[in-house]
Symmetry: D2
Amino acid sequence: MTQNIAILGASGYTGAELIRLIATHPSMQIKALSGERKAGQPLAQVFPHLRHLDLPDLVKIADIDFINIDLAFCALPHKTSQEVIAKLPRDLKIVDLSADFRLRDPEAYEQWYGNPHSAVDMQGEAVYGLTEFYRDQITNARLVAGTGCNAATGQFLLRPLIAAGVIDLDTIILDLKCAVSGAGRSLKENLLHAELSEGYAAYAVGSTHRHLGEFDQEFSVLAGREVRIQFTPHLIPANRGILATGYVSGDAQVIHDTLVAQYEAEPFIEVLPMGETPSTHHVRGSNFCHIGVVADRIEGRAIVIAALDNLTKGSSGQALQNANLMLGLPETAGLMLAPCFP
Amino acid sequence: MTQNIAILGASGYTGAELIRLIATHPSMQIKALSGERKAGQPLAQVFPHLRHLDLPDLVKIADIDFINIDLAFCALPHKTSQEVIAKLPRDLKIVDLSADFRLRDPEAYEQWYGNPHSAVDMQGEAVYGLTEFYRDQITNARLVAGTGCNAATGQFLLRPLIAAGVIDLDTIILDLKCAVSGAGRSLKENLLHAELSEGYAAYAVGSTHRHLGEFDQEFSVLAGREVRIQFTPHLIPANRGILATGYVSGDAQVIHDTLVAQYEAEPFIEVLPMGETPSTHHVRGSNFCHIGVVADRIEGRAIVIAALDNLTKGSSGQALQNANLMLGLPETAGLMLAPCFP
Amino acid sequence: MTQNIAILGASGYTGAELIRLIATHPSMQIKALSGERKAGQPLAQVFPHLRHLDLPDLVKIADIDFINIDLAFCALPHKTSQEVIAKLPRDLKIVDLSADFRLRDPEAYEQWYGNPHSAVDMQGEAVYGLTEFYRDQITNARLVAGTGCNAATGQFLLRPLIAAGVIDLDTIILDLKCAVSGAGRSLKENLLHAELSEGYAAYAVGSTHRHLGEFDQEFSVLAGREVRIQFTPHLIPANRGILATGYVSGDAQVIHDTLVAQYEAEPFIEVLPMGETPSTHHVRGSNFCHIGVVADRIEGRAIVIAALDNLTKGSSGQALQNANLMLGLPETAGLMLAPCFP
Amino acid sequence: MTQNIAILGASGYTGAELIRLIATHPSMQIKALSGERKAGQPLAQVFPHLRHLDLPDLVKIADIDFINIDLAFCALPHKTSQEVIAKLPRDLKIVDLSADFRLRDPEAYEQWYGNPHSAVDMQGEAVYGLTEFYRDQITNARLVAGTGCNAATGQFLLRPLIAAGVIDLDTIILDLKCAVSGAGRSLKENLLHAELSEGYAAYAVGSTHRHLGEFDQEFSVLAGREVRIQFTPHLIPANRGILATGYVSGDAQVIHDTLVAQYEAEPFIEVLPMGETPSTHHVRGSNFCHIGVVADRIEGRAIVIAALDNLTKGSSGQALQNANLMLGLPETAGLMLAPCFP
């Protein structure tokens, strides 16, 4: 049976990525696409690469009839998302790609995002959308909050290690290299080709990036105590990809064994043979995440590295994976596309 | 019924692209992959982005048992290809991606490629693989010669115009902008990142590029007289894509009408509304070709522009489209992936 | 004797490029830098790469005392430039980098730029700044109008050929490949890294680009009759560079001889040996222009190709070259930096 | 008085960069350029971007008469370099850009480079070329060993902190992001544009990179005890630049004060205001190094980041700076070029 889908905020990169993935999904059909400022336009005008698809024109959210929609993806900016979702039908299944329902604690939300949450009751209802670790809850959820792309990458690396107690909790450092599509389609000077191409730099230095809120929340629960990691993202002149280099104290072989055991049944997480490390090039455009482990020359220290595509496994692919679960469809439906290399 | 597939020369970019596309094909299974120098290696070592697939290891061609193979793709270098194909079983269906069987005239082959053809009899048997124009012959062919990526792009633009007699035949100029994967995975100084990134230049200037042999052959047949176009390719710092800018004498509206009429039933060729022009970004990773037409300020002249992905519609996608026809499968099977943007 | 320099509009790319070049100029000192919206900021905040220089803070133009300024560069947007220049002291030497004084005919200006010119009297006074062809007038000029970067590239190729009568005037086609810094530091969606990197497309198709006004003006004067060329620019994923591929009817050897004779004494124009063609990579960051000529396989046709850096020879380098002449300094002062490769 | 210069190994990137810098040096003249495999060719054929310069053709080293050479730069591969230098006149001043004389201990050399040193006596003579820390010895040296580009970047960050005792010596982590020209002009698959552009990955993971030998040597001397840091380089899709992100335990303000005090008189090292961080884009093509310090949210930890151009300050610029000292010239001669942005 075909599931009817709405995508709210379809004119951004995560919206476009959802459409790209759903285009070959065997049992989903896109029934509504919203874009407040671009309402009335055909999607091919906003995203000419989707020109070959038979899609509804962009409309305002207020003009969507949700009665026939089985599931809505919200690819809206944070803050807007919570306001919109609060007004949607209470029985509509929703996968939110924004940051609005990732943090369960309203105070933590306000601390990291700078504004009080306007839908605190739904914060409690939302299930955290890191599929591989919340699969059962997601299957039964009405509202799923997509994990941040950086937060997902770091958690794929660190969750099994923290849970298994095989690394020191007080010396975790995560150095991220992020491609530019993670910043969205926003008109900022540092995102211009002439400013970014051929150059790179750190940002949100000093562990001030908002995705730390997710790390703090999740890792502390896992460890049963407060865990605070260091995390520095860098903006790299590439369009897609996150590479997370983790520096941890622990035995590399035990770390590798732990990760292999954790992920061996997972369709999208590939733990490389011991000593090999991943490249963003090898996951681009796909829902796969590659993980590598190497022992440092200093005994008792290891480097763990993960690579994924921020728009796919880090965002829209993850969202579709969750939607599949929520709708009782095969989890991998529409998601087995191989990476696009070169 | 599943068709068993072999890919000869699987360690190059067109081989990898074939595997990427076949990975989601509903009725093809890869049974053999060859790579002479890398025989014995698992494909994941050569192409880590295909690690998630369950594929046979690379072997030498001599070690493949073709008895159970329904169709072989030859993604070998030209000259090697004709030698290999000559020794394959005579009832094996073959799609050749090299240049070896594109030219029907052995003299023309020798002129453009510098060596006498070693399988002249098969030259006559081979069907030219530009699907949209040789569909019936391809359906019944045993051996199909894939069109060159530049030659395909130019023919999508010009064939309908030459056939309809709506442009002057003596003043056609084609200025191509080609991404680097068209040069293959070969170790040449000008293909290094440090040499190519941030710079661009023409090559094979003076209408000396080998794909001109295909233009000469095809356009002259269409026109019923000798046609010689000018053609200058340029190497652009990007990985995938060909943009062909054609300068022609003719009425832009008539040209647009001719192209629309030609392609309206084609699943992969999109003629843009009059006055709009395509970008390689909007076809990347897909089998689509976008075509635009604009009238010049000088009366009676028009600019026609086509964009496609050299590895997909220009090579491996085209090859798969032809294989589908040869095997009686739906022509678009495995090929409806949306472009990967951004 | 040190010449005191003001740069109006110092917060854009051409402003920054002027400062970069003047930084090693032996007899110029920057006394004032303007930036209306960023007045009060140190330049290092706007352009951290110039941090090591001892420069005045940005101010509003109204706050500059021009009494001690020997020459002002105007790197302002067109239209703004004419309004500002009209109010500057009438004895101040000015090199304008905008489009405002390039066209001598007020009607042509209005046709191409869409607004009536507000300083028509100064339009007549301005000297066209293509140094190699207006050297004497520039030396004696008070106000020099910098040539457009595309217009400069095309003229370096075509002026000698038109003047010498060695090419057909009615079939000239210029296909340009332009890097993105030519579009300035403006916040437009198509200039974002994620939209441009890995993709390319034509723009201003149909010979509608404003720099055609300059070609029309200059070529018609040279030929003594109206000349209209075809000109299609393409936006390439690179930061600096223009590559102009010209398709002309004429004898390639005569064309090469004509260009060699024209430029042999020029310090910045290098005509390559017959048959060689230039790359933007080999002029990047420098004031050099490389030109190549190749005969086409079709008798009587030739391809002529020029490469330069749009920010240097196409704009700020050209402006400095003109300023040197106007101030009685050696023409090459501050301009002999070798290209930055790779 | 003009100093006569020879460059051995002029056909690689560091050779080209030396020529670029020396091109505007007021008192150096290039008298000989060597390239064993390309002997006999004009340099313009190997590096067309240097076409405008009046340079000697490439010759074999054996054909250079060193009698009139004041100083030779050796930009040869390591191992070759020690063999060549051992045979040069013993009174010739030499700046070696290879790794051959960086390590003073023959055993350390053999451990990191895999072969015994063939000029052990000269190892002792050589002065380590990190100008800002070995200025006096370099001034009086005959043979100077250029610091590795990664090693230089890390030492600019860490030397003052280790010497001052303001950071913990046992928890230093250096995460480097390196542009591709650091790998030289060698034909390797992972250096191809199609393999590197749009993707990035770590290499030499596990603190196995050869530049660690330099860190071990230098930091241990400074600290008066053995110091072993962790160091992971990453290959980034850009042509020039190294960004070193250092994770250290110490007080950020004290760290910043220490760096400011160390570098305030240095012409090429810019310590940014507290809390600001550098970009490789802002030093590209120049001899400058920008350094930033930020306090982490975890008390007692800091992030220190340095950016420089691997070909300039990391290699050829550093070499020229040392040559200036050795020849009694102003240290900054030929080196004050502003970065090339965008």
